[in-house]
Amino acid sequence: MEFTLLINAIIAGLLLGVFYAAVTGGVSISFGMLDIVNIAHPGFIILGSYIAYIVNSSFGIDPIVVSILALPLFYLLGTAVYQIYYVSFEKFGQESLRGLAFFFGLLFVTEVCLLLVFGVDYRSVNAGYIGPSLHLGPMEFPLRLLVPCLVSLAMFAALQLFLSRTFIGRAVMAVSQDPTALRLMAVDPTRIKRIAFGISIATASMAGAFLIIIQPVIPSVGRDYIGRIFAICVLGGLGSLPGTLIAALLLGVIESITSVFYGPSWAPAVSFGILLLTLAVRPSGLLGR
């Protein structure tokens, strides 16, 4: 019986891990590649969850479809935020202290606005795959984890292809390393960064939909994800999407096993432990350069 429990904990952890990767993907781009410490990312994710919730509860459209439809909206939001950030901080090289405070304020304002509009009730969405599970022998695959997991994988593959195959994608990878060289290639680094930041926020739309499929959401839930997101991002080696995926799977499994065997209230401590350990032992992460 103990063995079945362990197997299922690992499966749930792996499924959850892929979801964590989707949540972290955006930060891997903004923090890892663009060097923009967007701690407001969880705020955008929760925003995505609530948009999925509103459309789902009033029109009954599938949350994942909603999140895909909302991609352009989030992309524009991202470019707008980057524009403000660039004009006010990055242009003068003042990004460290004030930039952090700016994003922190943004996170806080998003949370309080959602709180004022929706209150502190837990919100959830309706879809056919929330509830049933797929059984394979002793193994159980809850569909509400499996579906976001598969879509996450697709999203991750698309991101990786975009970054490694297209010109703009390669320019994004290049901009963090040598903006001057990029300028010599007649590419405007600011434009590239704006596009990349837009994409990073766009992923938050989908991650938000996954989140509200997996668990009911309240405005303050985003905070729980900050430690997790940055732990994964640092562990994966900043700016490496495959590294992010591996780190996310690792964290997912460890967290899941912790919560099955020691109780769910201990799970948040795991990510922080891993974060501190990584920072102390190997700050460049698993696949860091």
Binding site: I39, L97, I226, S265, F272, L276, P283
Partner: protein
């Protein structure tokens, strides 16, 4: 102004405030004033690391709660002495417990300072961003620990019942107000001393160009650790009296994110380079919030703080003090 003179004026202003409240105000004024004073301490403490060194600490709530829960811990020991202490120790322990609040404040400072030292030692060698993220996560983890620790109340919370009256001061809140006033004097003095000492210049070199500072022989890691410990300890001390103030502590209120936001917003709005910045920011924002909580709602006042923070960071990066200095330098138009 020399330091003893500065302290003298602080004490004079503090005493005047206290007497004014005592003679012309009511208990509500003490309750509201306590909150503002608490934010002055938190803002000043944050600024020692954030403003002077340029290292952002998002974990104010964590350090604050650490102080609050260390008080709860020792209070609970005092309440359950018969069960906890072995027979032999009971008599001397009964003599020691319950610990007076000033002692609890010192203990809380030590605990929070130690945690600051630990976190700092692990993360301060890296870029400042990592420290910021670690402090953010630290608050979450401390909260997890407290939620799972039944002795200090767990997720249910703990009651700390202060006596209603106390000799000399009368109502207990006046005593707490006085303690917080002393903490304000201490933290402002510390901040001002740092600002004008070798230490402060060292901090400023870290803020402006850490690489250059390190290259010219400034012991950056040691200085950053000092700043983290001092700042964390002051935050913990501000939290130590919180259980006695509120009477009932639960993790959500002690770890409230509003402490983190306020302690960043206040120095940012006031100005981060001098001790006066957090003071001005805390008085303005603290009073504004007290008014907004009563007249509108507590969620709205948090929104105001967040928006003010974003606005000031973008439009007036050096805060009110910076605006003032600019105005003085230019001079009023004839």
């Amino acid at each position: 102004m020399r330091t003893p003179v500065f302290i003298f004026w602080e004490v004079v202003v503090g005493a005047a405030l206290f007497l004014l409240f005592r003679n012309y105000g009511n208990d509500y004024l003490f309750f509201a004033g306590y909150t503002v004073l608490q934010f002055i301490v938190l803002g000043t403490a944050w600024n020692i690391l954030g403003g002077y060194c340029g290292y952002v600490n998002f974990g104010t709530a964590g350090f604050f709660a650490l102080g609050a829960y260390s008080s709860v811990f020792f209070y609970n020991i005092g309440q359950n002495l018969d069960d906890i202490m072995p027979e032999k120790l009971l008599a001397p322990m009964q003599w020691i417990f319950p610990l007076p609040v000033p002692v609890l404040i010192v203990i809380a400072g030590a605990v929070a300072g130690l945690i600051g030292l630990g976190t700092g030692y692990l993360t301060l060698r890296l870029r400042g961003v990592f420290f910021a993220i670690a402090t953010l996560a630290l608050a979450v983890v401390l909260q997890t620990l407290v939620v799972n620790w039944d002795f200090v109340g767990g997720s249910r919370g703990a009651y700390v019942i202060p006596p209603e009256k106390i000799p000399v001061f009368g109502p207990y809140i006046q005593y707490l107000f006085m303690l917080m006033l002393i903490l304000v004097v201490v933290s402002l003095t510390v901040a001002r001393l740092i600002e004008r000492s070798r230490l402060g210049y060292g901090f400023a070199t870290i803020r402006d160009d850490e690489m250059a500072a390190e290259a010219s022989g400034v012991p950056t890691l040691r200085l950053k650790l000092i700043a983290t410990v001092v700042s964390g300890a002051l935050m913990g001390m501000a939290g130590a009296t919180f259980p006695f103030y509120i009477g009932y502590v639960e993790p959500d209120s002690a770890f409230n994110l509003s402490y983190a936001v306020n302690s960043i917003a206040m120095p940012m709005i006031g100005g981060t380079t001098t001790w006066a910045g957090p003071l001005i920011g805390a008085i303005l924002l603290g009073t504004l919030q007290q008014v907004a909580t009563v007249t509108i709602s507590s969620a709205v006042n948090l929104l105001i703080v967040g928006l003010l923070l974003i606005g000031f960071v973008i439009v007036a990066p050096s805060g009110i003090v910076g605006l003032w200095q600019k105005w003085v330098r230019k001079g009023p138009k004839p």
